[in-house]
Structures are given as structure tokens and as C-alpha cells.
Amino acid sequence: MLRSLCALGLLAALAASAQEVRFNRDVRPILSDKCFACHGPDAGNRSTPLRFDSREGAFVDLLSGGKAIVPGDPAQSKLIERVSSEDPVRRMPPSYKGHAKLSEREIATLTRWIEQGAEWEGHWAFQRVERPTVPPNGEGWARDPIDRFVARRLDREDMRPTKEADRATWARRATLDLTGLPPTPAEVDAFVADESADAYEKVVDRLLASPRYGERMAFRWLEAARYADTNGYQNDQERDMWRWRDWVIEAYNKNLPFDEFTVWQIAGDLLPNATLEQRIASGFNRNHRGNGEAGIVPEEYHVEYVVDRVEATSMVWMGLTMGCARCHDHKYDPLTQKEFYQLFAYFNQVPDRGRYFKYGNTPPFVQAPTAEQAEKLAALDARIEKTEATLQGLEGDVARGLQAWQPVQPWSFDESLLFATFGEGPRKFEGKDFADLGEEGGYSFYDRLSIGVRVRPDEIQTAGLVAKSSAKGDLFGGKGWGFYLDEGRPRFRMGNGLDDSTDVRAVKPLPVGAWSHLTFTYDGSRLTRGMKIYVDGRPVELEVVEDHSNNEITLPKTPLRAGVGPEMTDLFRGELEDLRLYDRDLSADEAAVLAVEEGTPALAALAAAERSEAAGRKLRWAYLSDEASGPAGEAWRELRRLRLARQEMTDGFPTVMVMSDAAGRQTHLLKRGAYDAPGEAVEPGVPAVLPPLPAGGPNNRLGLAEWLVSRDNPLTARVTVNRFWQMLFGQGIVETVEDFGSQGSWPTHPELLDWLAAEFMESGWDTKALLKRIVLSATYRQGSQLTPDKLEKDPQNKLLSRGPRVRLPAEAVRDQALAVAGLLSERVGGPSVKPYQPAGLWTELSNWEEYEHDKGGDLYRRSLYTFWKRTIAPPSMVAFDAAPRETCVVRETRTNTPLQALGLMNDVTYVEAARKLGERMLTEGGSDAEARLDYGFRLATAREPGQAELAVLKRGLQRYQQRYAVHPADAEKLLSQGDSPRSEAIEPAEQAAYAAVASLILNLDEAITKE
């Protein structure tokens, strides 16, 4: 509806502007909307050579004779005849296909265009950005080139700009726009009193330097990136991408040039010697949803992820609806299906799997310590290094001590040992029974684990050595984990069902009738590459049986057992000895030492040369662990302790999913877009309608990223500055910020857009500089009052005849309430937090535990840190039009609904904020009611209330004061909302009255609107 109105506005404007018809602005949208579907870029849908997406196609000789367009002669132009025909068979577009006919106005536009010579233009957005000449500064209104473009357009429409907004209004507008928070009264006062020439500029510099700036810029970027804290799809379990989110905030705060911001996010992983930050940045294209539903066909979803990356990247950087070319050539833009798959090829090399882990991050991902964590790790590493050096320096002592040492006790390797059995001698199994080992073995997928055992199989067999598994019938089915022989070959499996296990098998069988030592280690990664099997202390070659874990392992109640078989009649035959379980993954050296059978007394008795390397190591470790009491022993034990501490530390680091090009996949065009209908093989490439990749660059994602930000790319800068414009003015210069193709809207100020795009690129993609320029412009400084004239001529403010007046974004609605209440926590970054949410939302729909809101400061963090569960998004954000984060969204929308009113009045978030704001009014606002009301009003709106407004506020306050004086219990109830303590020093009835009137202030249209 907004759109239809805007069309009306443009047409009215068009009619007013001397009837000059321009192809790109006026004609192409009609052809695109009404004709392209059958006479456009999609070869599959064209039945004649006539096509209106190219000059050649539009001017061909028609099969039926004549031409569709005869310049200067509408009467001879078949186009006009066919679109205006009354005959339903002749009329285009055909009604029998359900198409609507052209409006009178559209026909008139086409007719005038032909009359005027049918001038053809290439689609504007695909032309290189050339910096237009800045119009002269007519009446001196302009402060910046921006304003001259705006003024010229206003002149043309015979409109005047609106008087500059007063300083307080501008300060509130700029502060909300650049930080997402309101200015404090003190900030406003200081600015209003600042008589220096650069007073405005100083405010902007302060705002851009605030850490709040990066947070605010992240609001919309997170939506564009479909960032969330869960995987989406049916099960929608948790993932960890917040390190990527924090990187975004930091990048904005540091003002990372937008070209680098782009390259890092598209291809940071491919940069030479990529830093951790650059790899984290590449997580942009891992923010898409990941399906962990049991039973899906992984390849089907693998394709969806790649499609999602193509769509998000195209929309965010190029303003192209590339997804339309997935199944067929694009209906409106010169993009072929093959070109879609050429872009697809760039994003198809990620070695991720189609079925994502149901829980947590799916590879590839990296450990991504925060700066603080990295610092702690570096300190620990320094200590380890120092201790190693100390031990190194004591090698002489160690050698001498070892020489002299006569051990009497056998030493075993039992750091981190959880459980051991069969240590007293071999336990024989004759296929008739198994050994119950009790309640040990409660490992989950996330636990590090090692098992060592000496085994002597009687025959080539399939049986369990040690397992905690519910398997019945099929030894390798069921839930749980187990260490097995599979036709004699060692095998390890952790799993939940047929398509849900992590399962590897040694290639070679164990010798029969002889003793072998087996060690299995697992690093808690849920991946087979984290599993190792050692035979006699040496790693053996493995084959992957299944590498697809999904659910968290559900351990059966079955006790840990040794010697189990698939059926109770078919059990292990042979002997087991010295079975050990460790709660970490032993290193290769440790596995080798574990396999040394001889005890330390026997080893000590051998000459050094007769000991194997592992045996020598065992003796040395035994000596250092048990015997050496001096500094060497201390250093050794310290070193062991530090290394364990290091592992524990790094295990606690957050991870983040990143891009990688390791998959080596051949991309095919997919017929009808279907994963199981591959067509011709395609190589990576960019659409032909756009400039080619820069010569000499790599033809991979990195090349693509660099191409996006090359000076010749016509789209990236235009699309980006347009999005910033939308953020500040409520709508883009191109209203369809997501679509710069032929179906997109015509820019209201094409030269301004190009000038800004050129300026942005040539400034070194300096985001802060661009924003600063815009908010300091006369255009942005205008007041936002409407007049009947402006409402009629420019209802949507597309001509910029006034300042923006739009409702705050969802995040700012809440953040502002917290800020004026004095509740807001300013902590930047970290794991997502859980503010208030109505009880039951999660349990009603999902199988999750009920949502439990955080305590203390985390209740009052900025809204961009709110835990985002995709399938049950935070209701207060969604009610205020936040995007649902399922797919990329770049367009801002604003609705005005009763659910918003209910939320602002009754959500505990706002009831509590009102209480705290009321408290501030009472304690900071002065001594009488008027001063206090004035203070509260100023906190929320940055202006003083007028006398009439103050009178209403006062009347309300008095009503509440009387009411709560009579009903003190109600006052107590109202004041008990929310976790934050209330000031006991204030009398409850008074406090409740102020809470109620503060709620009134927070509910004002003005309070939630940027004026």
C-alpha cells in the first residue's frame, strides 16, 4: 500500500514535471512489471523474439509484421495497440493467464514515451558510478552537496524545505540514529548552550566515537546477516555465533573501511595469513539456518545453505534478487540460471554437511577466544614455556637421577584415570557371559575420553570389548558408545540410531590368539577426525563408517559392560587385561607409553639402548612423577598441571562457524533448482551484465569479494549508501533497498545516490565520514512537521521536503526505556542474554526447557544481545517489526498495531522501566511535581513539555496520587513488578503514582518516534 501511494506520488510528480518521460524512471518499470514475464530475460518463457529487456529485442520485426515500437509514432506501434485493445484475445498482457491489464496512466506513459522518440537506456543500476556534477547552491540553504541535489528536486516540484529543527530535536534525532539511545538532558543542554561554530560537528564526533555506535550499526546488519543464537528449522537448538556479532560491533566502532568490512566477511578465511578476526568475520555466510532434523536428505539442505549464501550476499551487497534465477532465468533482470549457479559455485566449497549438528556449531568452525581470554592463554603459554625451559635446564639432574634409580613398584599411567579393571591378570571370556563394570562410562559426545585395554581374541569375530549401549540384535545399532571388534577389526562408535552416529573402524584386523594393546582416544568434537585408535602404541589407519552425529548421545541405563555381543548367545571369545578409562584424550606419546607392558623395575633393569623409545619415556615419566623430588620433579609436575589447565581453558573458549574452501566440489546447474537434478557443470563466475572480475585476481570467493568493492562495480556502493540513507531517513533513495533490478523502485534522487556512492568509494569507504556528512546536512536538519501541502504532494517524504519522523526500531524502543529508567547495562558483547519473556512461550511450542530470564545486569543489556531463538523469536522485538532472522532482510518496515500498545503498557520490561523512571523523577527531578514531570518528559523526548501537556501530566499524577493513597496495597503491587529493587526511602503511594505517570510518558507516540 505504501508502494501504491508512492507510485501515485511519483506519477503526480511526473504529470507536474512537464511531461518528460524517461525510460528508466517511467517506462522500464511498466515493461518490467507487465511484460518481462513472457517477453523478458527468461528464455524458457519466451515464445517470440520480442523482448523488452533489451533494445535489440524490443525493436525486432514482429513475426506478425510491423514493430512493437515505432519511435515517434504510437499509432504504428503494436505495443500500444495490444495493451489498449478491448479484445480479450488481442489484449496484452493476456487476461486468460490471469494478468491484469495496464492502467490508463501506464498506457499514456508508454504512448508519450514513443511520441518523444522511444529513447532506450541501459538499466541505471548496472552502469558504472560516475560522480555527477553538484548543482549550484541556489538560495544558500544547502550546507553540503547532498542538499543541493535535494533542493534541485524540491524546486522542480515547487516545494520548499522545512525550517531547521531546533537543536534539541536534532540532537535527539542524531543520537537515536547513531547510537540507538536517547541523549541525556545534560548532553542536550550542553549542545544547546554551545555557541561554537562546530557545535553540531562535535556532537556527531562524540556519538561516532561512542561504543554505542557500533552496537547501533549492528542492529540492521544482524538482520541482513540472518544472525541468531539457534540453528533454525524444526529443532532449532542453540549455536554460538556471538563472537561474529561482537566482531561486527568492533569493526563498526573501529570504522573498518567498508571495502575491508566486505572482503573479510565474504572471504576473510582466504586472505593470505588470515588473522583470527578475519576468519571470524567470514562467519557472515555461516549465519544461515542449519537443519538438524533426523532423517533429512543432507544433500538437499546442503544446496539450501549455498543458495542462502548466494541470496544473502547478492541482496546485501548488490541489491539483487538472485534467488529468482535459481530455478529458471530471472524474469525481470538480465541474470541467467547458469549465472546463478556460477555465483553458487563460489559458495559451494565449504566443507560443511547438509545435516547440521542438532546442538551447537557445525564444522568448519574455529575457537575464537575473546581478547581477554586470548590474554589469559598467552600468559599461561608463557608459563608453560618457562617451565619447559626450567626442566630443560635440569636435564643433567634428570639423567643422573634416572641412572641411579632402582624402582621397586610398577608404575602406571594414571593421571586422569577414571576407572581400571582386569589389572590383576587376564579375564577370560568364553562367549557365554560378559562382565558388568558398574555405573562408569557416562560419556557424552562432548567429553574427551580414552580407553586402553590389552586384548587377545580367540578368533576373527564380531563382538564388543567394552560398551555402554542399548544395542539389541545389531551390535552397532542402539544408543550409547562402545569399543568393538568388527570381523576382527577394532571399531569405535558413539551413536543414537541408524543415521546418527560417529563411527570409525581400523582397516586391519587384530592378530588372533596373540596379545595386542589397544587404545582409543576421542576429543569430544563429535567428529570422526577426533577419534584415534592405537594398536600397540601406534596409530592405525581408520575408515569412517559414519560421520553424522545429530542428537546428543542419550546414554542407556545399561551398565558399562566388557565382552558383550550382539545377542546374549554370541559374546566375546578371548581375554582382556588391564582395561582403563581416562577422562581425556591421551596424546600419541601417552598412548605409546600406555602400551608398554613391562613394569618400571623390569625397564630399569634394561640397558638404555635396549629400551624402546616408549619404554624409555615410560621410565622417565615414572621417575619424574614419583621419584624426583627436587626442582626437576617439581617442574615436571607443574608442567603436567599447566598443560591440563591449558586444555581446560581452551575447551571453554567460544567457537564460531567460519567459511572455508576445502570441499573441492564440482558445481552443477540444478534443473528447476532441485538438488537431485544436476545439469551441466559450471565454473565460478560473475553475471555478464556486470563488469568482469579484476584481471589477475583469483577466481574464488576472495576474487568475488574484491570484485564487489572494486571501483567499477556499479552496485555495492550504491546499495550500501542507500541502506545508510534508509537508516537515517526511514526509507532509501531507492525505496526497494533489497532490489536494484528492473523491478526495484526508481531512485528518488539518482544523482544524489551516485554522488554519495562515488564519495563513499573515493573516501576509502569511510562509513563514519559518510554518516557524519549526512547528519550534518541541511536536509537531515530539517524539522519533521507536516503541512497539508506536503502531505498531499509528498506523503511519504520521498522528496525530502522535511526531516524524518519515524518510529524507533524495535531495539531502540526497549533500549531507550531502559536508558531513561537508569537500568541500561552498558556492557559490550559476550554471549547472548535472556531478558524478560512471558512464561510458557518456549514450552508451548518447542521441546525446550522453559525460558528462564537472566538475573542482575544481564536483564538490562541492550536488545541486540537478546537471545534470538529463530522459531520463537523474542515477542517484543517481533511486535515492533524486527526481522525474524530466518533469511536475509534489509528492508526496514514499520507497522502500528494494538499489540505494540499492549506491550508498551503491560510488558514487565516497560512497567519496571516506568517504575524506575518514576523513581528518577522523584529523586533527581527537583522538589515539586512540575519540575519532576518536566524532568521525566525531557528524559524521554529531549524537550520540555508545553503548558497544556504539563497540565495533563499533572492531572494524571494527581489522580494516581489520590488513588494509591486510598489503595496502598495496589501501590505495592504495581511497585513489585520487575526484579530491580525499589527505593525504600520513597513512600509507596507517591512512588506508584510516579510510576504510572512515567508509563504515560514512555507510551507517548513522540517517545517512541524519532522526530
Binding site: 532423517g295 494494538p898 503498557m905
Partner: protein, 487 residues
């Protein structure tokens, strides 16, 4: 006070007149906002009185509203409606490859070494004039077979819950498109000025089953105001409906009077019609605060109602209570009412779990049809019952004499629909002797959508919304009207 005492006030008055003429007056704005067309931005141009699109309905509608009883998880068609007597003969034999025909399977059973046929544990009988076969698990539904159309030849594409349920709800397997209810809210608007046009309720019984997701009733690329509003059992039937404790409805009235006055002062200053809309939305919120509790309060229902819907209907939040609430919503003109009942995903233990599911839903589903009929509402209300796909005839897991499981099956499933414009007593479509493939009158999801929209007076090809440069519709580029199921 003399309004014309100053030129400035005179200007304001003119301005107000201007707005009064171009935008709707407050009352109308409130009315349309419900559902809410954005009147401030687009005066009279493209909205009708009740907030629907001009030109809609396209033809005289048979149905004015829909109650959609979504059975989430995939009910087993051959255990409920699609009677296959030969299965007993094939019990525990492998499903012939000729029947499976290369059908892709879910990863949960693709690796099974056998695909043994599992006959239904349950007895079937023919009922009513139509002679429809219904399983013993649905005794109440069996009694209404002459009032409903049993659609045995539904089929779909996806084999997993998320894409399948998203497909049924939005006509597309991937997230991002508007749900059917929001299309209707957008196209037809609301008939009630105090309630949302699209209401959703969820329930589950002994088994929670597969999760649901709020996007299933989301508005996709349509403005969020067209999204379904979830009604919940308990204190707050609509999120944030209740005033905070210690602040009653009289307080709220005073509060809103103050708020309107202040907002109106701002409007005088800024002349932004959005402020008028805001005032109207607050009034609407206030009306919802009284209309919703009245709606969800069953105390005026006679004892006989609870007997009809079953004892569960006394317990808020159950499927039965939701069915009763659906009737009350339909009486109040709510356009699209959708229930979701979870737990039909019977991968294992069909003989135990399916009776539980039926117990929770059978009586109330049938009661709703009967209740609507006797109130004269069935003629212009469409009632739809069904899940996102069917289940396999072969057993998932181990087949024993006592139990069996069934995996997801998209190639055929059964739904039923009744009321406004549909043929009662119809049994439509046929599957093969294994209930594996449709052999007669296949009915796909787009066709179903097209036909349901037709009953509502909508040409599915004409209800479109332009997004990302393209006109989208519920049926995308598909959908054929199925005249054979129309009355």
C-alpha cells in the same frame, strides 16, 4: 475557547479538516487497524471497510472464514481413514520395489535392511450414507462422515517436518512466505473490530511431539500485522493483554484518555497522521482487553457444550478447549482460526500412541462440525483437518506382533474438510493397496490451497503481493481448482 481566535489555529483547523477528509476518522482507523491496514499512509485508495483489499472477494464466497485443525507430525492415514484390507495378507513381507518406485526415504529408515509391511492394528468399518471407511480410533469422526469430504489422495513433496509443514502453511517449503491465514487477513480483512483477523492456538497431549515455530503463522513478507495472533491458555490469552497488578481497567481508561490527549496535542504540532493511527491502536488495545477475556470465559456455555466437546474442553489449553474457543471465535467473525495439535509423529509404538492422539482430538473435532452446523455457521465456515504428510506402510524399526512404527510418507495422506462450499459426504481419491501411491484423483497442496481460496471467494491467481520485484501468491505459480470436491 474560540478555535478561530488566531490565524494559526485557523490553519490547524483547516489541516484537521484536510485529514478528516483524506484519512479515515478515528473510528474507521481503529477498525481497519485491527488487522490493520495502514490508513495513515494510504487513505481510501486500496482498502475496503473491513480492511481487506478492494476488488475482493473476486466472486461470491461460499465461506467467510476458516477453522483449520492442523494435526502436526503426520497422522497415519492407513490406521485412520485409508483402509487397506490386503495389508494383513502382506504383513511382514517386504514392500515390493515396484510400489516404492525409487521413492526417497528419510535418513531414519533409508539404511534399514528390510521394509516389512505393517498392517494396521485397528478395525475399520464403513459409515454413513457415503460409506466412508473409518478406523475404530475415530468413533466420533465416523458419525460425521456425511458432513465432511474425506480427501484420501493428498500428496506432498517434502519428507521432513519443517519443509512439509511450511509447505502446507505457506505454499513453499522454505521459510519466508506468508502463511495462509495472513494471506486471508491481508486479502479479506476482518469482520470483527475488537479481535485479530487471524488467531492461532496450540496444544499437545501425552506426547509433545515435534516442535512448532511461530513462523508457521507468520506473515512472511507481508507486513507483520497480518501475522497470526497466538491465543494462549492461562492468565494472558494474548501476550501482554493484562494490565499490571495494581493498575485496573479504570486506571487504564484514565491513562488512555490522558495519552490520547497528549498524543493529539503532538498531532496538532506535527500533523503526522501516524499519530492518529497510534491513538486508534491504543483504543483498539483497550477494547481487546475486554473482548478477549469475554471470549475465553466459558462460564456462559451450557453443560451440554462440554458434553458435546468432551470433558477435556473444560481444561484450558487442551485441543478440545481450543476447538470450543474456535467456535466462539468463528461466531465473532474471526477470519482464520488455526489450531495446531502436536504428537502425530509416530515413528514407533503406533498401537499405543495413535489411540492416545485420537482420544485427545476425535470427539472435539467432530463436535466442532456438529456445533457449527446447528448454529448455522457451517454453511459459511470451512473446517479443515489434516497433517503435513502421511506415514509409511512399512515398519520403521523392528516389527513385532505387538507394535510397529511408521516413518514420514509424502506420497499420500488423508485430510478432511467440511462446510462452506465443499461437497459433504464425499470420499475423494484413491491410493494403491499399500496406501503408498495415489492411483486416482491426486490432490496436491497447491490445488488444495487454490480450492480453499475459491470457497472464500478468491481467485488464487489474483491474490498477490509484490515483493523483491515479483508478484507472489499463496499458490506460487501452481494450483488448479478442484471442482470435484466443491458442492
Amino acid at each position: 475557547m474560540d478555535l478561530l481566535s488566531s490565524p494559526e489555529q485557523a490553519l490547524k483547523l483547516t489541516r484537521r479538516r484536510f485529514f478528516g477528509r483524506s484519512a479515515f476518522g478515528l473510528g474507521t482507523a481503529a477498525l481497519a487497524s485491527l488487522l490493520g491496514r495502514d490508513l495513515s499512509a494510504a487513505p481510501t485508495l486500496d482498502s475496503t471497510e473491513n480492511g481487506g483489499l478492494p476488488g475482493l472477494p473476486h466472486h461470491a464466497p461460499k465461506a467467510k472464514r476458516v477453522i483449520y485443525l492442523f494435526q502436526s507430525g503426520g497422522p497415519a492415514q492407513m490406521d485412520l481413514f485409508d483402509y487397506k484390507p490386503l495389508l494383513e495378507k502382506y504383513q511382514n513381507q517386504d514392500l515390493p520395489d515396484s510400489i516404492r518406485g525409487g521413492q526417497r526415504l528419510t535418513g531414519m529408515t533409508a539404511a534399514q535392511t528390510r521394509f516389512p509391511v505393517a498392517a494396521s492394528h485397528f478395525k475399520f468399518q464403513q459409515h454413513g450414507q457415503s460409506g466412508a471407511w473409518v478406523s475404530e480410533l475415530l468413533p466420533h469422526t465416523a458419525k460425521i462422515v456425511d458432513k465432511i469430504a474425506v480427501l484420501r489422495s493428498m500428496h506432498t513433496e517434502p519428507i521432513n517436518h519443517d519443509p512439509a509443514i511450511t509447505f502446507l502453511q505457506t505454499g513453499h517449503q522454505l521459510a519466508g512466505r506468508p502463511s495462509m491465514g495472513s494471506w486471508l487477513a491481508y486479502g479479506l480483512g476482518s469482520e470483527n473490530h475488537n479481535l485479530p483477523a487471524f488467531v492461532v492456538m496450540t496444544s499437545y497431549g501425552k506426547t509433545k511431539g515435534q516442535p512448532l515455530y511461530s513462523r508457521l503463522w507468520g506473515s512472511g513478507f507481508l507486513p507483520t500485522r497480518y501475522a497470526g495472533v497466538k491465543f494462549r491458555s492461562g492468565k494472558d490469552p494474548v501476550l501482554y493483554l493484562n494490565n499490571p497488578e495494581g493498575f485496573d481497567q479504570d486506571d487504564r481508561r484514565g491513562f488512555l484518555d490522558d495519552l490520547s490527549e497528549l498524543n493529539r496535542m503532538r498531532y496538532e504540532e506535527m500533523a503526522d497522521p501516524e499519530i492518529e493511527t497510534r491513538i486508534a491502536q491504543y483504543e483498539m488495545a483497550y477494547r481487546m482487553q475486554s473482548s478477549v477475556p469475554e471470549l475465553t470465559d466459558f462460564s456462559s456455555e451450557p453443560e451440554e457444550t462440554f458434553q458435546l466437546y468432551g470433558e477435556d474442553s473444560r481444561k484450558p489449553g487442551t485441543y478440545a478447549a481450543n476447538c470450543l474457543l474456535a467456535r466462539r471465535l468463528s461466531e465473532r467473525g474471526v477470519r482464520f482460526i488455526q489450531l495446531f495439535h502436536r504428537g502425530w509423529d509416530t515413528h514407533a509404538g503406533v498401537p499405543k500412541r495413535l489411540p492416545e492422539q485420537c482420544q485427545d482430538t476425535d470427539q472435539a473435532s467432530a463436535a466442532l462440525v456438529l456445533d457449527l452446523e446447528r448454529r448455522g455457521l457451517l454453511d459459511d465456515t470451512l473446517v479443515v483437518w489434516g497433517g503435513e504428510f502421511g506415514r509409511t506402510v512399512y515398519c520403521q524399526g523392528t516389527l513385532t506382533a505387538e507394535t510397529y512404527g511408521r516413518d514420514h510418507h509424502p506420497r499420500c495422506f488423508t485430510m478432511w474438510a467440511a462446510g462452506g462450499g465443499l461437497k459433504p459426504g464425499l470420499v475423494y481419491g484413491e491410493t494403491d493397496e499399500y496406501s503408498y501411491n495415489v492411483v486416482k484423483d491426486p490432490l496436491n497442496v497447491h490445488d488444495l490451497h487454490a480450492t480453499l481460496l475459491h470457497c472464500l471467494g478468491i481467485d488464487h491467481r489474483q491474490l498477490t503481493y509484490k515483493f523483491q520485484g515479483r508478484n507472489f501468491r499463496l499458490t506460487d505459480v501452481h494450483g488448479e481448482l478442484v471442482n470435484a470436491i466443491l458442492a
